[in-house]
Amino acid sequence: MATIRHTSRMTEVPQPPHRRRAHTSTRDLERYAGLFAERTTVMRSSAMRDLMAVTARPEVISLAGGLPDTSTFPPESLAAQMSKIAAESAAAALQYGPTEGFDETKDCIVEVMAAEGMLPDPDDIVITTGGQQAIDLVTKTLVDPGDVVICEAPTYPGAVPVFCSYQADVRQVEMDGDGMRIDLLEALLAELKAEGRRPKFIYTVPSFQNPGGVTLSLERRARLVELARRHEILVVEDNPYGMLRYGGEALPPLYQLDGGDFVIYLGTFSKILSPGIRLGWVVAPPPVLEKVVLGKGATDLCTSTLTQFFVRQYFAEGGWKRYVGELVDLYRGRRDTMLEALAEHFPAAATWTEPEGGLFIWATLPEYIDTGDLLAKALRSDVAFVPGQAAYVDGRGKNSMRLNFSGVNDEEIREGIARIGRVIREQVELYEALAPGQGSAAAGPGTPGREAEDLPADAAAEAEDAPAEDAASNVVPLRKEANG
């Protein structure tokens, strides 16, 4: 039976359910605005967000998402797992579950982490509603308004609104081809110490970073873990893509190097199985974990029981590693296609990263190009990407863009990159006409290039801790100066 609602005007007569009455007067708006929490003032909607509404149209080739290709998951396997759950454990699968998650599902998590060389205690794990909730819960647990959180520049665009909503004072540390610049991190820590401030945590995506596409070198991993231990600050290691490596040597996660004392580990099934099941996890030292679990209880009581059952069932079949292997082969091909297309269609003044894994390539254009505006122009050609500004808290990244290669097929990648290349070239030509002689410079400070000669000489010198053999290939500062 339909619920009977009463509008303010009709308190007596039962009405069929209607959507809410419009509130439009200035007084109404100001009244709501007066009730908003302080933290909402840093949560921004914008014209750019509206622009993203256009990217959802079917004719648009979107390189903007971070989507795994779920079409590769066999529907009959999904049907079989779900039937089995329905037949054998319907009541339990439809019931609430423990806040920290089911032990059997944690066993699957232990299996995934073991595949990357980690051996967590299942009691240190809490299962979350996706990796995004993991970031939210950890921040909720650790950050008071004004507390310092350190992250990479650029950082995961989805972490920016989380840190902002908890009113963190976010400091971003530059990266180069070997990931976060640990020398700059040390300088920042010293600076904060001088101010009498201790950062709450360092958030990092060390492998195949989103959006930068770069990977933290082994040497820097060791230094980062050592720094955390020495300063007694936490590192939050977000590792959604670790198993999606398409070349090069696997590197140990920070969690493994540290042993779990100062590293909080965030994982997810989104990229190795499905983002739709919304299953992620946090591994943290017991005192931290206890607070995270309390926070999770307040947020949503427990993670979906049904999808935890699904993961158990799926892992029991034993084919999960084979499926990840299929994804790796598929995405490797798409990455290569995108790199080829970039070389063919992007102008000489552009640079981009060559990721060894993950889902993203980060491209940087001449400084005078604002990729937010470029997106508007690109949408007229039915192609989309994420403007780089989304990966910064301070408005930087305006001349960069994030490109996704996992969610679209080879043909769309080639066509999409060709279209973006076309609109960039138009802007470059126009700028040349407007400011003759100034438009021929290579990509401005902002990102990595494929070629060492793209890099300012002093920047190469600054990348002191890069292994010598890499210096010629991929050590290009993601951003040279902090005032861009």
Binding site: H18, R19, R21, A22, H23, T24, S25, T26, D28, L29, E30, Y32, A33, F36, T40, T41, R44, S45, S46, A47, M48, R49, D50, L51, M52, A53, V54, R57, Y368, I369, D370, D373, L374, A376, K377, L379, V423, Q427, E429, L430, Y431, A433, L434, A435, P436, Q438
Partner: protein, 311 residues
Amino acid sequence: MKVAVLKGGRSLERGVSLRSGARVEDALDRLGHEVVPIDVGADLVKRLRAEQPDVAFVAMHGVGGEDGTAQELLEILGIPFTGPDAAACARSIDKVMAKAAMRAAGIPTPDSFAFTQTAFRDLGAADALTDLEGTLGFPLVVKPSRGGSSLGVKFASAPADVPGALVAAFSYDDRVMLERFVEGREVAVSVLGGEALPIVEAIPAEGDPYDFEARYEIGRTHFVCPADLSPTERSAITDAALATCRALGCEGFARVDLILGADGPWVLEANAIPGLTDTSLLPQAAEAAGMSFEDLVERILHLALSPAGVS
């Protein structure tokens, strides 16, 4: 009555349009009309022919919806529609054309110059930039000629900013405008059936007048309606807004954006299809005039069906 609500489309302001459209649909539903929501696409004509609506409520914004394209089709199909006719829409959305019409009618609008990409690429217009910057002074505003929101609008505070601002503006349109910056209070006049509704003033909360994105966002902009103005200011603003609507042919339904400078009001532009979202200015102005959102929607519909009602 069977009302087709046209919304969405390919415009860059698709998001705002979908929100406007959804609210209009709710209101129409509450008013007892039969609502046919249409996300405008390649099948628009086919759908309109199949649905045979009595009237179309146009809730589209930006190029493709507010520029007369959809209106032209509706005119051909003989379906009455809300808002200005195709010609008035085309005039209003193009700031260069609109300004020419305003100047011809003696309406104060900031000095400006317009250029196409061709002028820069093939005719060396860049060489003329210095002269025109001298005329307009700094800071100046660079805008795409067409487009209703703040997208692509940039301030240039020095000559070095101009090429980048032009490249940005050309991302949105093939013609852009450099306009003298007028300092003052931001006010908007909504016009309905040839009459001006109470004036809304938008005051940026954070005080950065160059941050266009903060405009019209709850919590970041304060709205005052009716705006706190002297009777002289009020009538100067209202007169300028109504004259603008007459000059452009959109006196039935429009919103005119102005700056109240030290020397009086300056008209920036007229929006032929003003936003109807929760934070839009037209519904606020209507509410201040004692009209609920439903009243407003009914009135807009009525104007579409009896355009003679426009005085």
